[in-house]
């Protein structure tokens, strides 16, 4: 995505872009979990295990979101930085952005689920 990052200005721009990208990745995963949760069908009968399944997928997506963010950050920016001082600084922001992105995913998914009418698939994730 970028050429070598050698100056402080480029580093700051990369950091900004990292935060924005990871936020967008987080939002993308929200859409993803909504789709997945809706794809998991209700289980008929007395004991319905589907909410648990949806919950598991929720956590799988959270972890995937984290690692996707880290991966994108690495390939888009970190590998273009050679100056040791920049690398140390960027890694901190890279991890922070990935965590924030995942938190955005988790937080907004939670809010959306809690706002649903009860007995919907999404609502069942966080009973």
């Amino acid at each position: 995505m970028v050429s070598k990052i050698t100056t402080a200005v480029q580093l700051h721009q990369a950091e900004m872009a990292t935060y924005m990208t990871d936020a967008i990745i987080g939002i993308a995963f929200i859409v993803l979990i909504i789709i997945i949760a809706n794809m998991i069908s209700w289980q008929p009968g007395a004991h319905d295990g589907s909410p648990a399944k949806r919950r598991v997928w929720f956590w799988i997506m959270a972890v995937t979101c984290l690692f996707t963010s880290l991966g994108v950050n690495y390939f888009s920016w970190l590998r273009h930085i050679s100056k040791a001082q920049f690398v140390t600084e960027y890694i901190i922001h890279m991890i922070a952005a990935a965590v924030v992105g995942s938190l955005i995913y988790a937080g907004i998914t939670y809010i959306i689920c809690k706002m649903q009418k009860k007995d919907t698939k999404l609502a069942s994730i966080f009973k």
């Binding site: 100056t7 402080a8 200005v9 040791a84 001082q85 920049f86 140390t88 907004i108 809010i111």
Partner: protein, 439 residues
């Protein structure tokens, strides 16, 4: 949904406010008048360059040095160049210093038909050189034998004259060519009185024509400051400063001007507090400016021993007047901005780093921080008496004894504290202007 939109809009507002405050930095962009500013700030305490239209005066000592000259390959190589300067030819026949001609043909004839006249008044000839203030060459053997007084073997009889010439900001180059006469090894002195600042002065012409001879030594006397030379053709700035390509470099006035794109925050964090590959802080930070060294040779009579940096914040002064500057007095020097790396100076390199206590508080420019960095001579040391291989050529043996007068004249001039570069004229060797953002 409503809550989400509300939180998103506050986030957008915050981002806009942050970017607005960050972009409120200013910088002096119009640097066209830096040259004028620099000229207006120069300390012209009488050290004006010699008038380019000056004629050249040639004084010839009618003694054995000139009679034997025609046999010297060194002399025969430089004679045409000297005549080509169209000089006014003065003969020193004993006490009589007479203007003979300025016709090149007659000069050539006179130079080839010299007879010895005793008691050459060398001191008188140099006196008139100083008085005329033209470029001048005097060819003499330095033997000032005065009737009734004696041989002046150990008398610095030219010291006062040399001092006066140097105080005017001019230069003296003395070439010493050994020759033998009646069994004694004496020296033919070519004393060139000129101004280094003049384009194509007589010294340049002389050195172009003089053959490279190891036994001919030269000493360059001047009380001005030396020039700089660059390791890679130009000043090197730290990459993190983002110095722009369009720079103004004026070698004759010894200054250059650059625009700096980096913010001071970044320069503080990544230059002053730079770390190496293992994460350890580099002592003193990385160099801000490097690649400059002083242009002195063994023949220069002075060498700068100690340098100092003077930094000034001139944005307000520069922006204040949009017409000509008149006489500019620089404001008080700011402290805690840049320092000279003493370790590198021991190796003869000029390396400038950020001051370890730099925290931005010294930069108070409102419309930008236009900084002027002067590299000045703080103390110079004379570079002549410690070089016997050069100094020895200014003493010679004669029928009346060992003559050290020329050597003593030079020594007396150089040891006079009033003559040294930092006490006369301007001690500034080189100036760098940096247009940077406000803090």
């Amino acid at each position: 949904m409503k809550r989400i939109t509300k939180s998103l809009s506050t986030l957008c507002a915050v981002i806009m406010i942050v970017t607005a405050t960050v972009s409120c930095t200013y910088r002096v962009e119009d640097l066209v008048r830096i040259g004028e500013f620099h000229k207006a700030s120069l300390n012209d305490s009488g050290n004006k360059a010699m008038n380019e239209e000056t004629k050249v005066d040639l004084y010839i000592d009618y003694s054995d040095c000139m009679i034997t000259a025609t046999k010297s390959p060194y002399y025969t190589s430089v004679q045409p160049a000297i005549i080509a300067c169209n000089p006014n030819y003065y003969s020193i026949k004993g006490n009589e210093i007479k203007f003979e001609t300025n016709d090149k043909m007659k000069i050539h004839q006179l130079l080839n038909t010299i007879r010895n006249v005793d008691y050459s008044n060398i001191k008188g000839a140099v006196d008139s050189i100083i008085a005329n203030k033209n470029q001048a060459i005097i060819i003499t053997d330095g033997e000032f034998y005065q009737k009734g007084v004696g041989a002046n073997l150990n008398n610095p009889y030219l010291a006062d004259e040399f001092k006066e010439w140097l105080t005017m900001g001019y230069d003296i180059y003395i070439y010493s060519e050994p020759y033998t006469f009646q069994g004694y090894t004496k020296n033919r002195y070519y004393m060139l009185f000129t101004d280094n600042k003049l384009e194509d002065n007589i010294q340049k012409i002389f050195s172009r024509n003089a053959p490279k001879q190891d036994d001919v030594k030269m000493v360059h006397l001047y009380s001005g400051t030396p020039t700089v030379k660059f390791a890679n053709g130009k000043t090197e700035f730290n990459e993190q400063m983002l110095v722009t390509e369009d720079a103004e470099v004026n070698a004759s006035l010894s200054y250059e001007c650059h625009t700096v794109d980096a913010y001071w925050d970044d320069m503080h964090n990544y230059i002053l507090n730079a770390t190496d590959d293992e994460g350890n802080l580099i002592k003193g930070g990385e160099p801000v400016i490097k690649g400059i060294s002083i242009n002195t040779t063994d023949e220069d009579a002075y060498k700068p021993a100690e340098l100092e940096l003077k930094c000034y914040e001139i944005s307000d002064m520069y922006m204040a007047s949009d017409s000509s500057f008149g006489k500019v007095t620089l404001p008080a020097a700011i402290k805690d901005l840049f320092v000279l790396d003493e370790e590198e100076w021991k190796n003869g390199e000029i390396v400038i780093k950020l001051h370890p206590d730099f925290d931005g508080s010294c930069l108070t420019g409102g419309e930008g921080n236009l900084i002027r960095v002067d590299i000045c001579v703080k103390k110079s040391e004379e570079n002549f008496t410690n070089k016997p291989e050069i100094g020895g050529n200014f003493k010679f043996d004669s029928p009346w004894g060992f003559n050290t007068s020329v050597y003593e004249s030079l020594k007396q001039v150089l040891l006079d504290p009033a003559i040294s570069p930092e006490n006369s004229g301007s001690p500034i060797i080189y100036t760098i202007y940096l247009s940077t953002y406000t803090i």
